[in-house]
């Protein structure tokens, strides 16, 4: 197996694990972490597109690589907004959850 195919399959596996964590973790920050795993897996898949496009004296296609660099920074910016929203939501509702049922219950949904 070529190194690029191996890296691509690694990316595919990362997308799988990230998806699993994104759906199952109740904690919103853990969901965000899992979503970042999916993102880096997608970048890796795109990275092997760059590696395979090696022609004209290049060992890689610089266009997808430049797009991945841009993508990593934009993904970070989106994560920062998500963190700000999660923190604000938790401060307002006193619950670290994305379950809307908890917020609408009386007493803020405290199970005492």
């Amino acid at each position: 197996m070529t190194p690029s195919a191996l890296a691509g399959l690694t990316g595919a596996a990362l997308v799988g694990f990230g998806l699993y964590g994104l759906i199952l973790h109740p904690h919103p920050l853990r969901k965000l972490l899992a979503f970042n795993l999916i993102g880096s897996g997608v970048f890796l898949v795109f990275g092997i597109v760059a590696r395979r496009g090696a022609v004209a004296g290049f060992r890689f296609d610089p266009v997808p690589q430049a797009m991945v660099i841009t993508g990593i920074v934009v993904a970070f910016a989106a994560s920062a907004i998500a963190v700000a929203l999660i923190l604000r939501l938790s401060a307002q509702s006193n619950h670290v959850t994305l379950d809307p049922g908890v917020w609408t219950q009386p007493n803020g949904g405290d199970k005492k």
Binding site: Q65, I69, V74, R88
Partner: protein, 317 residues
Amino acid sequence: MSLLLPSLDLLLASLVICVAVYTIAAQDLFAAVIGYVAYGLLLAFVWIRLYAPDVALTEAAVGGGVTGVLLITAGKRLGALNVSQEAQPGPVLKLLTGVLATLVASALGAVILMLPDPPPSLAPEAAAAADGAGAGLGNPITAVLMSYRSLDTMLEKIVLILAVIGVWSVGADEAWGRAPAPLRQQKAYAPMVFLAQMLAPVGALIAIHIFWTGANAPGGAFQGGALLAAMWMVTMMARLMEPPRVDARWLRLALVAGPAVFLISGLAGEVVAGSFFAYPPGLAKPIILFIEAFMVLSIAAALPMLVAGPPSERSDP
């Protein structure tokens, strides 16, 4: 030798996957974030194996480091709220999700093994751009970012500003104009202060070097700016500096400097060189370095502001 590299690749790939599984499976948020930082650094090695040192630098600095600081800070702030946790999902849901995730990963893997041959490539166009308008740039990635796809890069800088505005705007009304909460609530440990004092000057120097060398070698404005941002965050975590007020004029000027200079240069290209974002021949490299210098400034200002979060009521003296 012929067997060494493939087995190293296999070892690296399994290590990356193991650490990824750990970040998903870890009980504790803090442990998961530490796992994610380690994962980002390991992933950087995979990028090096794909002949992508520029991406490796960005992944290590932004994907691992700065995202790690963001999540650790967020976890600390959530922990300070002392809030309730909800129950874990049941086994049926776990099984179904596992099946779904396996299906998605397998489908993606199958697509990767069936990619078209010969693969499509934009490398010749990028090479032409690097030889033409971006003349004198030895690093094809920088040539693509600053010349061939320069509009994308400028818009991406604007996305960073929009993200900063988005983060600031979720703050409470009363807090508007004040500084974000400190990155650390308690007094910093002495070793942390020592580390910041030792590391920050060296790191800032390395950041400027990475930016400067990016024209011809791996590196560039993104990587240098991210490193500079990390150094600012280290000094803020050691409480040697506090986050600035969000209405500080110098901060806002630093945030918009990169995209503004980039856009003005692009518009000037219309007049001087005949098309939007064209650079006059012979002057391309100095102009690109000039734009990149302001981009480094904007990235170094934007990333710590994204981590520091919205203006806070508690931070004012």
